[in-house]
Structures are given as C-alpha cells and as structure tokens.
C-alpha cells in the first residue's frame, strides 16, 4: 500500500517477445483494428495505448491475465465487457500501474511503462491517465470542490484560484455546481461518482480509465453517471477505456467493444459486430445471460 519500489518486470524469464517498433506496431494495429472500430483513423496515427502479451499473476499462482493484446486509439471509446474474474479490472489497473504487470508490455504514447521505471516517472505517467473507480474513492475530508482541486494544486502546481475556477467548471459540467461545498458523505452515490469524474477530467489527462463506474450505484442513480460519461465521449473527444456491465451504454457510446474472459481478449469489434453478430460462443452466451 505504501510501496514506493522500483517497478521491475522480468520479461526475459517469461518468454515474451520484445515490444514492437512504434512505426511497425502502428501499421500492424491499424491493419488489425480498422475493421473492428468506429474510430476515424487519421493518416499515420499511432495508438495511444498498446498492450502486448500482458500477463499478471497474483501471489505467484493465480493467473488473472494470460495474454492480453489490445490497442486503443486517440479519442476512441473502448468498452470492456466480460464475466467477473475475467481480468477486465486487472488489465485496467495495469495500465496505470496500480497493479504491477508480471510480464508483457504496456506502451503509452509509444513509451514503454513496463520494465524499469522510477516512482517519479510513474507519477508523471499517472497524471496523463485519469481513473474513475467503482467505489468512487473520493477524499472524504475534502468538499466536492476540494476533491477536484487537490490534484491540480498539489500535482499540477496550479494556483488556488486557477484550480478553483477549473473545479467549478468541471463540477458544472457534471451538473453539480451547487454541490461544490458538500462533503462526499453528504452526496448520493451517483453524485459522488460524478464528482470523481470531474476530479479525473480536471487533470486534463489524455486517457481516462473507468473501472465499473456504475456497479456500486443504485439502479436509479446509474443514468446520471452514464450521461456524464456519454457527454465526455461525444463532446470531449476523450479517450476512454470503460470496464462496464452497462450493455446499453456500450452499444450506444462505444467505438469498440472488447469481450474478455479467462485473462484474454476473446473477441472485439464494433458494438454492432459484438452485440448483434458475436463470433465466439462464449461471447454469445455471456451476452445472452446478461440480456
């Protein structure tokens, strides 16, 4: 919990090939992805997240991620579906190094984050990766506004006035301007999660990771949160990786849907491809059980 150790992932021992060259990888990923996403590719575009042969083992024997390969393009909204225990959340947490990958490569903007990395480099990386948690994880001792401000003042070193203006702007965007001075405990779950989104967005990251953002909410509070996320995807042009069980949201908002099971990506495609014409039996079974 308080660990500040150097990350070291021994790829040699795990029989994982080295990460691909950026140009080569971009071309290959483009070739692979162009038919399975609604994303509009720019010429010579490079993926902003590249996951190659990602492997994660807990306590030395529980293998959660077996071999995950995924690329995410700038501005793309990727929804990750799958049964519980399939490794969706673990993959997401590996991307901002809340979990240390056991083997494999993760590259953000063509920069490898797996391997040797100093804590300061990890911190720098995380500024670029917003995260929204299932359990909100707002700071209970700060107001809604304070929650949105603290990253800006302490990490981005913005002035208090600047941070406050930004915080109010972001709280307004999630419809909670009038709750700016409330403590998290005084807000509903849905409101808390919207504050958490505002907190992530206020750091102006390139990518936001959503880890089951509506799973802890009462059903009637889910919509407000999804609306905020939809707005962010459609108007903000934000790159989003969303681990979710909200099929409706995935179908409506996602550029690409990824189905994971057993620590691998089983199937991915546009929402139409995955929901309407699933190629794998497991995908069909899973979608059938949800509906």
């Amino acid at each position: 919990m308080l660990s500040n150790k150097r990350l070291h992932i021994s790829n040699d021992a795990q029989d994982v090939p080295p990460a691909l060259d950026a140009e080569e990888a971009a071309r290959a990923a483009h070739e692979r992805d162009k038919s399975i996403t609604k994303h509009h590719f720019e010429p010579h575009e490079h993926p902003c997240v590249r996951i190659e042969h990602l492997m994660k083992t807990f306590d030395g024997d529980t293998q959660v991620l077996t071999d995950v390969n995924l690329t995410v393009w700038p501005g793309e909204v990727v929804c990750v579906l799958g049964p519980s225990g399939s490794g969706k959340s673990t993959m997401l947490r590996c991307i901002n190094l809340l979990e240390t990958p056991t083997a494999g490569h993760i590259l953000i903007e063509d920069k490898e984050i797996t391997g040797h990395l100093l804590q300061s480099e990890v911190n720098k990386l995380r500024q670029n990766l917003g995260m929204v948690f299932q359990s909100f994880n707002l700071f209970p001792h700060l107001t809604a506004k304070g929650n949105v401000m603290i990253g800006q003042t302490k990490v981005l070193k913005k002035s208090k006035e600047e941070a406050e203006a930004e915080a109010l702007k972001q709280l307004d965007a999630v419809g909670l301007l009038d709750r700016a001075d409330y403590k998290p405990a005084q807000l509903s779950g849905g409101q808390q999660q919207r504050v958490a989104i505002a907190r992530a967005v206020a750091m102006h990251p390139d990518i936001i990771l959503f880890d089951e953002p509506t799973s802890a909410l009462d059903p009637e509070l889910v919509r407000g949160v999804l609306d905020v996320m939809r707005k962010l995807a459609e108007h903000g042009g934000m790159t989003m990786i969303v681990v979710t069980h909200e099929m409706g949201f995935a179908r409506e908002v996602a550029d690409r849907v990824v189905f994971m099971e057993g620590g691998v990506v089983v199937e991915q495609g546009t929402p139409e491809q995955v929901f309407d014409h699933p190629q794998h039996k497991r995908t069909a079974e899973f979608l059938g059980s949800i509906d």
């Binding site: 919990m1 911190n123 807000l187």
Partner: protein, 434 residues
C-alpha cells in the same frame, strides 16, 4: 611552693564566682523592672482555634511590676500592618487579688499604644491591657509585642513577650472560619466517614492549597503532549515505512515503552541521570518522561489510524499522480488525524492522570500536595479533593470524546450541516431518481 600555688588557684576561683554573681544580680535587676507575663490573642468571635490576621481579635497583655520599680506609663509597639482601636482598650491594674484604684488612659499613636497611669504603679502590681479591637497583619506569621515603659522618669525597654502565631487571612481561611461556626458542619463532621473523607473545612483548604499542584499537573501534560504527538507521528510513520531498519527501530521503541511501567521509566530517568552527573530540573525531566512515554502510545494510535484508511484512498491519490509523500500529507494524514482524535483525547486523559506518578520522585504536583496535606491533617479529605481536581479535567474530556465520536458516526452516515438549503439536495435526489 605547692601551698601558695593552691591558694592562688582557690582565690582566683572565688573571685570569678563572686564576679559572676555580681553580674547576675546587676544585669537582670535592670532588665526585669517590669516582667511581661503573657501575651495572648483570641478571636473576638467564639470558636475557631487560631488567630487570623485582619480579623477582629482581642489581644491580652500582662506584666508584673518588679520589686523596686514603678511604672508611670508604657508604650506597646504592635506589629506594622495591623490596626487597633486604642480607645476601647481595657486597662486593669491588680495588687494581689484586689483591683487597684489607679486608672489608666490609653491613646493610640500609629502602631503604638500609649498608656498613662494616674499615678505610678509600684512593685507587685499586675498590669493587664486588653486591646479589644485588634487586627493583626493580614499576611499572618509570628507577631511579637514589645515596647517601652517609663519608670521614675527613665524610659526602659520592655522585655519581648513570646510571639503570637497568626494565620494568614486568605479567602479560604475566611470560609474555613465561617464553616467552623456552622452547626451543620459540626453535625456533618461528627459522622466519622464524612468527617474523614469529606470534611468541609479541609475541602476548602485543599481546594486552595492543592491548586498549585493542579497547575503543575496541567503544565506538565500540556507541555509534554505536543512533543509526544510529534514523536508519536514520527514513530508511526517509521513503523509503516518501507525501510526495514526504520520499522525495526520504531517497533523496539514502541514495544519497550509500552511494555514497561511508566513508574519504572520515571525511576530510571530520575535516578539514572543524576548518577551520570546530568542534572535537569525535575519539572523539565517530568515533561520529558511523560512526552516519551505518551509518544509510544500515540505512535500505535497513529499507526492504527493510518492503516485504517482504505487502499482506495491511496489508489485515488496515485491515479492523480501524487507521490508517496504528497499522498501522506494531503490525503492520508488529514483523514488519520480526524479518525484518531477521540483515541488521542483518551490517551491525553491517561497521560494527565499519570502525572501523579511523578510525585514518587518529588515533583511537586497535585498528588504530592495532597499527600503532604493529608499527613499534616491526618485526614483523607485532601486526597478526595485531589480526585475532584483530576475530575475537573477528565470528565469534560470524556464528554468531548463521546460527542466527537457521535458526530463522526453521524457525518460518516452523511449527516451533519449542509452548506446550502437542504431542499435543493432533496430535489436533486428526486431528479436523480427519475
């Protein structure tokens, strides 16, 4: 040769003896012209034992005129700071058992009282002066009545009378002497239990007498606690540190201090340091020992507080790009401090009570004062009063702990004051629900 030597020795011995007798006759003869018999003082009001400064007191002075002397007038010098109304002074001259016809007239002059007799009082007369409205100096202490007298036109010094002990006239003393006269107090004290543990007069005396000790207790705990908090925080952070050495140091420090009695620690420090020729003021040493002892307990409280913060808080801080130190300072410690306030207050109560152990090494704190007073009076009431003094501090703090705990429980459920109109929140909730 031998004979003359012996005679010379004998002669000188006789001469010395005669000389001594002569001296004894001459010297006392002049000094004892008027022998002061007794000087007594008694409070004007009934009851009570001692003479209290500043309160109306009757001073009785007696003297006998010796053989071959006569007294025409005398002047009593009363202590500075006192006051008296000389005009009501009762003058009595007795010859044997008969009241003399000789009259006296008293007139005050500053702190002196002049008494003139209508004719000289000759040998054998007993003079009694009763100053009925005397007030001794309010600060109390030993008071000596001296003065001069005129005998045959010659002014002679009065022999000093034995001193009168007076009690300082404090506020407490006033109450005590008032209580002394109350029938209910007498009835109360006649009950053995009440008189032994709750004697009203002693409660009042103790309240005033123990006050300095109470302040010492408060002073020691208030001075030591900030150091204890800082030390405790340092050791708590060391104990959750990723460095094995820091963790080991913290564990040894905390466990040794928590695993041995404070009493023992006090003995080691108070007797050990002087043996090493390190001499530190007792109060400072008391503060140091209390600070070190409390810091171990506080370290454990802080550590438990830090570890009670959910992992999600670290993750949320990390995801914003905060480093370890930033996370600690901005996110973890502020929450920890809120959480541990009730426990820390409880520990403060314990530390305050534990200052009593310092009495064992001679620190003049509450316990020491009450012990002294109890051994003087042979009554348990000073201990009971000391208990009251401890409770004056601890009971409100116990209440504070309860209130804070309730408030924290409420705010965790989302209660507490809303910054804006509550109706808005309800509306929002409804809007969310639709």
């Amino acid at each position: 040769m031998d004979k003359t030597n012996k005679r010379m020795g004998l002669r000188s011995l006789v001469a010395a003896f005669v000389l001594a007798i002569a001296f004894m006759c001459v010297l006392p003869g002049t000094a004892f012209g008027l022998t002061t018999g007794s000087t007594t003082a008694k409070p004007n009001e009934d009851g009570g034992t001692g003479v209290i400064g500043g309160l109306p007191t009757r001073l009785t002075w007696e003297a006998t005129v010796d053989e071959g002397d006569s007294v025409q007038s005398l002047e009593l010098v009363l202590p500075e700071g006192g006051s008296f109304d000389g005009s009501t002074t009762k003058i009595t001259a007795l010859k044997g058992l008969d009241r003399s016809k000789i009259e006296g007239e008293a007139s005050p002059q500053g702190n002196k009282l002049n008494v003139k007799f209508s004719e000289p009082l000759n040998a054998g007369h007993l003079i009694r002066l009763e100053v009925t409205d005397m007030r001794f100096p309010p600060q109390g202490g030993s008071v000596v009545v001296g003065g001069t007298y005129v005998s045959g036109g010659e002014t002679k010094q009065l022999q000093d009378a034995p001193p009168i002990e007076t009690i300082a006239n404090t506020f407490a003393q006033t109450i005590v002497s008032w209580l002394d006269h109350q029938p209910w107090v007498q009835a109360w004290n006649s009950n053995q239990f009440l008189g032994m543990f709750f004697k009203p007069q002693l409660i009042v005396t103790s309240l005033f007498a123990l006050l300095p000790g109470w302040f010492v207790c408060l002073g020691i705990v208030i001075a030591s606690y900030p150091f204890a908090v800082v030390l405790g925080l340092i050791f708590a952070l060391m104990k959750v540190s990723r460095f094995k050495l820091l963790r080991a140091i913290a564990i040894v420090y905390i466990n040794v201090l928590r695993g041995t009695p404070l009493f023992l620690q006090i003995y080691i420090v108070f007797f050990g340091l002087p043996m090493m020729n390190i001499n530190i003021d007792n109060y400072i040493l008391g503060i140091i020992v209390m600070a070190i002892n409390s810091s171990a307990y506080l370290a454990e409280i802080f550590r438990a507080g830090i570890e009670s913060i959910p992992a999600g808080q670290y993750e949320a801080a990390s995801s914003l790009g905060m480093g370890h130190l930033q996370t600690m300072v901005n996110i973890i410690l502020p929450q920890t401090i809120r959480r541990v306030i009730p426990t820390v207050t409880s520990d403060f109560i314990t530390a305050f009570k534990d200052t009593s152990l310092l009495s064992s090494v001679g620190v003049m704190e509450l316990m020491m004062f009450s012990k002294n007073l109890t051994s003087i009076t042979g009554n348990m009431t000073p201990y009971v009063t000391a208990g009251i003094f401890y409770l004056i501090v601890t009971l409100p703090l116990i209440k504070v702990v309860t209130v804070i705990e309730k408030r924290m429980a409420r705010s965790e459920r989302g209660g507490g004051k809303r910054p804006k109109a509550k109706a808005d929140a309800v509306k929002e909730e409804v809007a969310d629900a639709i």
